[in-house]
Symmetry: C2
Subunit: 288 residues, 2 copies
C-alpha cells in the first residue's frame, strides 16, 4: 500500500510517497506560496500516485483538537495568506483520502523516537531553537496534543542576572522565546548568532535560558530524552554549557543515572535525523 | 475475577478488593507505620481474598521506570522508615500476584478521567495543593511517567510583587511548592490556611501563584481539563480568583473556547471524586 506524506513548513512544502516500511519512494519540494498557488501543486503531485492515506506534519499554530469544528485549520500564523486556512479538510476533500495531521515538532519528536536518537526510550521531547522556540513530545506511541497543542516556547524563565534585554515576544516580551530564540540573540547582541561564534557571553547566557527551560520541562514532562535542534543549536558549544547548567540547577533533585556528569551527554542530545526527519515522521503518521 | 487495590499514603493505607467493573467490594483502612508493621497487615488482608492482580497507587517519590533495577522502590521520602523500601517487589513476592504501580497523583488523574470530572475529555491534569504540591497527568489511556515521575510542584514561578517570603522548599526555596503549598501559607501569614479565610490578600496571592503555574502547565501539557484538589483548595474562593488570573495572564494567547470567561469554570475545576478517588484509581490500574 502506498502512502502520502507532506511536511508543510513556512518556507517550503516537501511532498512524498512512501510505503508501510517507512521508505520514501519519491519526493518533491515546492515553495510555500499562497494556498491558491500551493494547493494545486500538491493535488497535481499526488493525483495519480495511488496513495491510500496522507500524513501531514504542519507548521502552526494549527487546530488539532479532533472535537473542534475547525480541526486541521491553521490559526494565527505569521504567514497571513494561510490564517484560518482549513488545510486538513481541503487535502482530504481534494485527494479523497483520510488525512492524519500533527504539528511539525510533534512529527519530529516521533521521527526521532522511531528512526533517530530516541529509539531506545519511551518518551522524547524535541525542541527547536530557531526563529521561534517550539517543542513536540512523544510518549509511548503517541504525541501530545490536547486543549490546543503545547506552546513550550512561551513559558516564563527567570532572568539571567546580566541581561537587560526586554525580549522579542509580541505577546509576552521576555518569555523563553522572547529571550532565547534566534531573533532575540540578534537584537540583544546586534548581530546574528552565526556572527557571534567567538563571543563567550552570548552562549553562556543562551545556555542559561535554555537550561532553565529544560528544568521546567523535566519537572513537568519527565522526558526520557531531550533533543535540541534548530538553527541556533548549530552552535555545538551550547550542548556542554546547557548540560552543565542543567546539572547545577537540578542540584540532584531528580534522581536518575542520566542526570549525572557521566551520562547527561546521552540525555540532552542533537537530532539523529537531519533532512528526512519531517517527511519520515509525516509518513509514520499513517503507517500501521 | 477479583482484583486487589492499595492506596498507599503518608498517613494511611487503604486496602480493597474489587472487580473488573470497577466496583469496590471490600475495604480496610490501616495506619501508615513502619514497613515491618504495615506489610504483615497488608499480607493478612489479601491472603485469602483470591485476588489475581494488585494495583498500587503510592506516595512518592517512587521509582516508576520499568527499566530501572529499583523499579517500585520508594526514594527519599520524608517517611524515613520507608526510604529505599522496595514496596512493589515486596508485595509482588508476598502476595504472588502481578503488581501494577503508579503515583497517587497519577492514579487520581486517571480516576477523575474514568469516573470523575474529566470523563468527557482525553487528558486531565490533577494537582493537589496540600502539604506539598504534586500533580498527575492522564493522556489518552495512559499516565505520564518517564525518566522519573513529574515533580510539577518544583517549577519556578515569578514572584508576586508584594511577596517578601523566602519560601519553604529545602531544595529550591521559592519554587511553586515553596511559595504556595499549605506550609508556605502558614509560615508567611503566621496562621494555617483555615484560620485565614477572611484575609483577602492571602487568597489573592495564592491564586496568583497557582495561576502562574497553570499557565506553564497549559503551555507545556495542553491539558483538556485541570482539576485542583488537596487541603488548600478547600478554600473555594480560590477557584474564581485562579480562573480570573489565568485568563488575564494568557491574554488570549492559546485559543480555545474553554479559555474564555464563559467556559473557564468548566476547565479549572474541583475533583469529582472525593473519598474513593485513590482506591478506585488503584483498582483501575489492573482492570482490563
Ligand atoms: N549557525 C547558526 N548559528 C547561530 N544561529 C543560527 C545559525 N543558523 C541559523 N541561526 C539562527 O536561527 C534562526 C533560524 O532558525 P532555523 O531553525 O534555521 O529556521 P526556522 O526556525 O525558521 O525553521 C535565525 O534566527 C538564525 O539567525
Ligand atoms: N480548609 C483548609 N483551608 C486552607 N488550608 C487547609 C485546609 N485544610 C487543610 N489545609 C492545609 O493543607 C495542608 C494539608 O493538605 P492535605 O491535602 O489535607 O494533606 P496532604 O497534602 O498531607 O495529603 C496543610 O498545610 C493545611 O494547613
Ligand atoms: Zn511568548
Ligand atoms: Zn522545590
Amino acid at each position: 500500500m502506498l502512502l502520502g506524506a507532506i511536511e508543510a513548513g513556512g518556507t517550503k512544502f516537501v511532498l512524498a510517497v512512501g510505503n508501510q516500511e517507512g521508505d520514501i519512494l519519491d519526493k518533491l519540494t515546492i515553495p510555500t506560496e499562497r494556498p491558491d498557488q500551493t494547493i494545486p501543486k500538491i493535488v497535481a503531485y499526488f493525483k495519480d500516485k495511488g496513495i491510500k492515506k496522507l500524513g501531514l506534519g504542519a507548521f502552526g499554530p494549527i487546530d488539532l483538537n479532533q472535537k473542534s469544528p475547525t480541526y486541521g485549520q491553521l490559526q494565527k500564523t505569521p504567514k497571513t495568506a494561510w490564517v484560518d486556512y482549513p488545510l486538513g479538510a481541503v487535502l482530504q476533500e481534494k485527494l479523497s483520502v483520510p488525512v492524519v495531521i500533527d504539528t511539525d515538532v510533534n512529527v519530529a519528536a516521533m521521527s526521532e523516537a522511531k528512526f533517530g536518537n530516541a529509539t531506545d526510550v519511551d518518551s522524547c521531547l524535541y525542541i527547536t531553537v530557531g526563529t521561534g522556540i517550539g517543542g513536540g513530545f512523544y510518549y509511548r506511541g503517541q504525541t501530545l496534543n490536547g486543549l490546543s497543542h503545547p506552546e513550550i516556547g512561551h513559558i516564563k524563565v527567570p532572568r539571567h542576572p546580566d541581561d537587560r534585554y526586554q525580549g522579542t515576544c509580541p505577546s509576552h516580551g521576555d518569555c523563553l522565546e522572547g529571550l532565547a530564540a534566534g531573533p532575540a540573540i540578534e537584537k540583544r547582541w546586534g548581530r546574528k548568532g552565526d556572527q557571534l561564534v567567538d563571543v563567550a557571553e552570548v552562549w553562556e547566557m543562551e545556555a542559561f535560558y535554555l537550561a532553565q527551560a529544560l528544568m521546567t520541562f523535566i519537572y513537568v514532562l519527565s522526558p526520557e530524552r531531550i533533543i535540541l535542534g534548530g538553527g541556533v543549536m548549530k552552535q555545538k558549544q551550547l550542548f556542554p554549557l546547557i548540560r552543565k547548567y542543567v546539572l547545577e540547577m537540578l542540584n540532584g533533585y531528580v534522581s536518575s543515572p542520566y542526570l549525572t556528569a557521566d551520562q547527561i551527554d546521552q540525555y540532552i542530545v542533537a537530532p539523529g535525523l537531519t533532512d528526512e526527519a519531517g517527511i519520515k515522521g509525516a509518513l509514520y503518521l499513517v503507517m500501521d
